[in-house]
């Protein structure tokens, strides 16, 4: 297959895909056809085409796949297409709750509230409604509490490939030594 043809195929898939286009999905779409060129290489080619022709979108690697996104400078115009809730920023409470779930998942509401020291019901609900979190089963212990996890939408929202790409949680000792330093 010619590289040009391959580029067109990948472009078509990028336009139509509802979720990030992964290598596996790409191969599945090609079916029987054998392709020597890795997806990443085709993406690189397309990306440089877009850049040199000054397109309004770029390809972004997210959740271990590729997706077309509009370039940042068009935000002012593009946001007009969406309802207010579409890209509403998360509240402090929601961010804290999300942070706890990201690092501790799967996690129960009780565990979240124990860390935050405050009821987290409404932030959990917001995060579920915005599909950033999902319920994945129940805990084995008494009460069979619901377990929360981050979703693929969470990765998309924060532009991450996996949860491992999140910034490392600081060690307690680290925080302590800094705090003691502040006191001097």
């Amino acid at each position: 297959m010619e590289l040009n043809e391959l580029k067109q195929i990948v472009e078509a898939l990028l336009v139509a895909t509802p979720e990030p286009l992964t290598d596996a999905r790409f191969k599945a779409c090609l079916g029987e056809q054998n392709v020597e060129v890795p997806l990443q290489e085709v993406i690189n080619e397309l990306q440089s085409d877009y850049e040199s022709s000054d397109r309004a979108f770029i390809i972004k690697k997210v959740a271990n796949g590729f997706q077309l996104v509009t370039r940042a400078e068009f935000e002012t115009y593009v946001k007009g297409l969406f309802s207010k809730t579409g890209k509403l920023r998360l509240s402090q409470a929601a961010l804290e709750t999300l942070a706890i779930v990201s690092y501790r998942q799967p996690v129960t509401r009780n565990a979240i509230e124990a860390i935050r020291g405050v009821s987290s019901d409404s932030s959990l609900r917001t995060l579920l409604d915005r599909k950033l979190l999902e319920i994945r089963g129940r805990e084995d212990g008494p009460g069979r509490a619901l377990l929360y996890r981050t979703s693929t939408e969470f990765l998309q929202y924060f532009g991450l490939n996996t949860v491992k790409d999140l910034p490392k949680l600081r060690e307690v000792e680290d925080i302590l030594s800094e705090d003691q330093g502040e006191l001097v």
Binding site: R89, R116, G117
Partner: protein, 243 residues
């Protein structure tokens, strides 16, 4: 005493731990050896304010105030040396909670930064139109249990029980309702949950029928579709229907 300059908006704190961290930072206190008497009185001043302002989360603050007072009381008690056993500082647990909370609070602000960076990028999402889609109204194919629960809660809120005066023992079982739905699905390819609901005479039947739906979903006898959250549930035959 809280002087004017110390007066701060309680709403800016996410909870009691957040407030404690603020007090520790403001007064440059040592988190290893928190002066409990001082911090308790400062904390209580704020809680008083919170109660005056009728803040919704005041309950969590009151709980923390009680914890602080308990720690304070324990620190006043003479320590009975009990053999070689090491006596734990009553403040240790609180300190650990504060440190743990601080870690996630920091992570949350890192998240906020990433959010700000990602915000200007909009994803291309293909339009909902898809010629192969059998049902144009059912855009939420992937209905999660959570969606169903909320729809049920919503429908139940709007369900008005007909006023009747006869006293009778209602008996309805899960098996009966599973059979009932199965029967309806033999005759119809699709059922609307809200239509079904309007025919029932009591809340109990509604609830049991809902449980029957969950049960049949679990055993794949039926499929449930929904076009958006809180919208009607459309029930159709599943892969294991009739088995």
């Amino acid at each position: 005493m809280i002087t004017k300059s110390h007066r701060i908006d309680l709403d800016m704190f996410e909870g009691p731990l957040d407030l404690l961290l603020f007090l520790i930072k403001r007064d440059e206190l040592n988190i290893y050896a928190i002066p409990i008497a001082q911090i308790t009185s400062d904390f209580l001043e704020y809680v008083k304010l919170a109660r005056e302002l009728k803040l919704h989360s005041a309950g969590d603050f009151v709980l923390m105030a009680a914890t602080l007072m308990k720690i304070k009381a324990r620190m006043l008690l003479p320590i009975e040396a009990d053999g070689d056993e090491e006596i734990e500082d009553p403040r240790t647990e609180l300190m650990n909670m504060l440190l743990e909370y601080k870690r996630y609070k920091e992570a949350a602000s890192a998240f906020e930064n990433i959010e700000r960076e990602e915000r200007p990028h909009y994803y291309h999402i293909p339009s909902a139109w898809n010629p192969q889609q059998e049902d144009q109204t059912a855009i939420l194919e992937d209905v999660k249990l959570y969606d169903i629960m909320f729809t049920f809660q919503y429908l139940l809120k709007n369900y008005e029980e007909p006023v009747t005066h006869a006293v009778a023992v209602e008996e309805v079982t899960l098996t009966e309702q599973v059979g009932f739905i199965g029967g309806l699905l033999q005759a119809n390819t699709r059922l609307s949950f809200s239509d079904m609901l309007s025919k029932f005479e009591s809340r109990l039947i509604v609830v049991v029928t809902f449980l029957a739906i969950l049960e049949m979903l679990r055993t794949r006898q039926i499929k449930v579709k929904q076009s958006k959250l809180f919208d009607d549930l459309l029930i159709s035959r599943g892969g294991k229907f009739g088995t």
